[in-house]
């Protein structure tokens, strides 16, 4: 009888180990919210802060972090860009080279190419900004479901805008959305998973 129990246990052990595998896969889940199925990230052609045309196609093979905002933003943009810069610093140089932050302005009136370049360099010189006509930018926002409403502030104005960032994988799939306020560690965690996925 004991022998039968031992044989059964030996037979069941590999099955139990196999059954445990999906649990390990779950541990590799992203911290960001994920889309299923992931759709192809809508591409665009804008004026890049580096002086060239800004397209997503250009960064195929890299993980792109896409974020919308304006350089006069008092809180959301500096907080997020600072978080992204910190996250990028935590990556190895090889990993960081495979990550591209793309910041698209919602305020083309004030955010020129030069202004974007100067502003982004204050966080990380590799960050690329994008600007264009109001129509172009509005069309891009629509494709991504980004909200941006202009509001008067004294004699000037500001924008109330979507604060989450999109994560686009190396194949150009719009895979995830990281809510505003997540720490750099969460980005590092997710970026490493996406880079390993390739």
């Amino acid at each position: 009888m004991k022998r039968i129990v031992v044989i059964l246990a030996a037979a069941l052990l590999p099955a139990l180990l196999v059954a445990a595998l999906p649990l390990r896969a779950t541990a590799a889940e992203l911290k960001a919210g994920t889309f299923a199925p992931a759709r192809q990230a809508p591409d665009f052609t804008l004026r890049g802060s580096d002086g060239t045309d800004l397209t997503l196609q250009r960064y195929r093979g890299k993980v792109v972090i896409l974020f919308f905002g304006f350089t006069n933003c008092p809180a959301v943009c500096p907080t997020t860009l600072s978080t992204l810069a910190k996250a990028r610093k935590q990556l190895t140089p090889q990993e960081a080279a495979q990550v591209q932050v793309v910041y698209i302005t919602v305020d083309p009136e004030r955010d020129s190419q030069a202004r974007l370049k100067e502003y982004l360099a204050g966080f990380d010189a590799t960050f690329v900004g994008g600007t264009g006509s109001e129509e172009q930018l509005s069309a891009v926002r629509k494709e991504y479901g980004i909200m941006a409403t202009r509001e008067a502030v004294g004699t000037s104005y500001a924008y109330n805008h979507s604060a989450s960032t999109y994560l686009i994988d190396c194949d150009g799939k719009l895979l995830a959305l990281m809510p505003y306020g997540q720490p750099p560690d969460d980005y590092v965690h997710d970026l490493r998973i996406l880079l390993q996925k390739g």
Binding site: G33, N160, S162, G181
Partner: protein
């Protein structure tokens, strides 16, 4: 008269026993759930119904989750058209799964709500008897059908 009053007290005490027993069980027994997902779906035909002037409520302005038990917000668009659902744009047939790892209050921009915001409150895991009791009472309340709210997708 005294006997009648005493009988009433005994009856009340006896009636309280099962209530106390249930409360004690609810407070002591560890809580478990079948799924950690809190699912909200845009049903097929929502857009068409809206176009016809119907006021549909799907996603509440405030969502309450519990860490370790129900801490994954799942949004699903079963409609035939893209929809802004909570914090994001979702294609037909697409779902969005957002796990929470820290008990806190989270604000999301959500154009569908009058405030422009959606709040997700993630409560800590109920690891004390009182917290377990409160969680179970809340679960009982949420198992009832959700009332429709105005303009909530």
């Amino acid at each position: 008269m005294v006997v009648r009053g005493r009988s009433a007290k005994i009856a009340a005490a006896l009636a309280a026993v099962p209530v106390l027993a249930v409360a004690a069980w609810a407070a002591v027994t560890p809580v478990q759930v079948r799924t950690r997902d809190e699912l909200f779906e845009i049903p097929t035909g929502t857009w068409a119904r809206r176009m016809a002037g119907e006021d549909l409520g799907i996603l509440p302005e405030k969502i309450r989750l519990t860490l370790g038990l129900r801490d994954v917000l799942v949004l699903r668009n079963l409609d035939e058209v893209p929809q802004i659902f909570g914090p994001t744009l979702m294609m037909p047939g697409q779902s969005f799964r957002l796990p929470f790892a820290v008990a806190s209050s989270y604000q999301f921009d959500c154009t569908a709500h009058p405030s422009g915001q959606m709040t997700v409150i993630v409560d800590p895991f109920p690891d004390t008897p009182w917290a377990r009791l409160v969680w179970r009472v809340r679960e009982l309340a949420r198992s009832r059908p959700r009332p429709a709210e105005n303009g909530t997708t």
